[in-house]
Amino acid sequence: MNLMGLLRGLWAAFLSMFEMLRGLWTTFRSMFETPVTYQYPEVKRPVRERFKGRHVLKRYDNGLERCIGCALCAAACPADAIFVEAAENTDEERYSPGERYARTYEINLMRCIFCGYCEDACPTEAIVLEHQYELSFTSRRDAIYTKELLIVPVPEGGKPTPQNVPVGMFNRAIPEMKDPA
């Protein structure tokens, strides 16, 4: 090692001391910044609009269920978390428009990966992943959400299902929808 190299090394070491001090200053300064922490159970961080939390089953304004029991969601589900059992609608006991409705609708939330494919598959926009994310269970059985737990309450002005409706009024299972494009 020659003298110049030694001097250059010493100079570099001297400069790196300043870099270290700068690092110390950075951490010290950040002590006085407002913490980014949310005090979780008391303060909840609002989720994004398109956040995919727990599913809900939607209703029409008149109270009829959107779900027609087609089980396309179950077919689309990559985790095989959805179980749908359909039954026939009659005009005396109508649950949803069209021929059939979901008599059993269960989502196993321990299998669900919250990918939202069910949402995409649904022809009636019945299943939607909403913003509920506090999902913890004390047993495996509790993790299976049944239709009663998933379905939203009857909206104002609507009637609970099953409804007794005039004959021929709700024969169309899939509503006319605006072209999303």
Binding site: L24, T27, S30, P35, V36
Partner: protein, 335 residues
């Protein structure tokens, strides 16, 4: 030796050990809160007001942890190792005076166990030098290659940095002309040694951080490479003992640095109110502890070969240089 004197010593020892134990508990909280603030978080604030009961909660949790002894472990040494690790951390403060002499009820009391012995500084070095055994034994007895690597690393690291540590002590010893801790504090009545020995203080800090295996020198327990190093196989109270030793050593090092370089218990108005002494010392120790946490929050871990190269090729020559410069100046100025 009268019974009263014996009782006084027992009480003093108990107080010093309580300082380490209580300090350990709350140092963990202090560190987590400060670290959190430096990362713009809040830190543990749930258990009790401001999280003050967090150490208690941690303690309860650790007590109820399952105590595992690995199949491949050497059972005797595996159980012995945490104990061996804790003892040096508890006894090293014996030579540090916590305050000046006071007269109470017609008797003179010294806030310290053996601060007047003429090998006080050497005692610190001796205890520091055997502190490595607990870690080595733990690493070997675990029967785990990561733990063994941690143990081997810690031996190499501590032996290397002990030299620099000892050389950093030489400055204050030369200035005070004595190895007694009392004399070193007395020598700082007018001027702290950190001003006369800035290089020595820097070397001491670096070597001490390496000696107690704190970040950025926490090679023996480098999580990303060695899982948790020497205490990878430990759980429950045995793990808590390692934790206690680590934080106890932090406290001890802060006490030593405050005493050797920052004037110990010295401060203004000490002759009028001698009880201010422990308070001054406490403030200095807390400041140094804050600095240790600050270092951890700032610097990434060294690479192992960098650590060894730094210790032998930079720190040790610097220490020698510091000793030579100090000696020359003392001779020139005339002590």
């Amino acid at each position: 030796m009268s019974w009263a004197l014996l009782l006084e010593w027992v009480i003093k020892s108990a107080v010093i050990i309580m300082i380490i134990l209580g300090g350990f508990a709350y140092l963990t909280l202090f560190e987590r809160r400060v670290l959190a603030r430096m990362q713009t978080r809040i830190g543990p604030n749930r258990a009790g007001p401001w999280g003050l009961l967090q150490p208690v909660a941690d303690g309860i949790k650790l007590i109820f942890n399952e105590e595992l002894i690995p199949e491949q472990a050497d059972r005797v040494l595996f159980i012995l190792a945490p104990v061996i690790t804790v003892v040096p951390a508890l006894i090293i403060l014996a030579v540090i005076p916590l305050g000046p002499e006071v007269t109470l009820f017609g008797r003179r009391y010294v806030f310290g166990l053996a601060s007047n012995i003429n090998v006080g500084v050497l005692y610190i070095l001796a205890v520091a030098s055997i502190a490595v055994y607990g870690i080595v034994i733990a690493g070997w007895a675990s029967g785990n290659k990561y733990a063994l690597m941690g143990g081997v690393r810690s031996t190499a690291q501590m032996v290397s940095y002990e030299l620099a540590l000892a050389l950093a002590f030489v400055g204050p010893i030369m200035l005070a002309g004595s190895m007694s801790v009392d004399a070193i504090i007395e020598g700082q009545t007018h001027l702290w040694y950190v001003i006369l020995q800035p290089l020595g203080f820097l070397i001491f800090l670096i070597a001490a951080v390496a000696e107690i295996n704190r970040a950025p020198f926490d090679m023996p327990e480098a999580e990303q490479e060695l899982v948790a190093g020497y205490h990878a196989e430990y759980s429950g109270m045995k793990f808590a003992l390692f934790f206690m030793a680590e934080y106890g050593k932090m406290i001890a090092v802060s006490f030593i640095a405050a005493t050797m370089f920052l004037g110990g218990y010295l401060g203004p108005f000490l002759d009028r109110w001698p009880l201010l002494g422990p308070i001054y010392l406490f403030i200095k120790v807390v400041a140094l502890l804050f600095f240790l946490v600050w270092l951890r929050a700032t610097f990434p871990r060294f690479r192992y070969d960098q650590l060894m190269a730094f210790g032998w090729k930079i720190l040790l020559p610097l220490g020698l240089l510091n000793v030579v410069i100090t000696g020359v100046i003392i001779v020139l100025v005339g002590g």
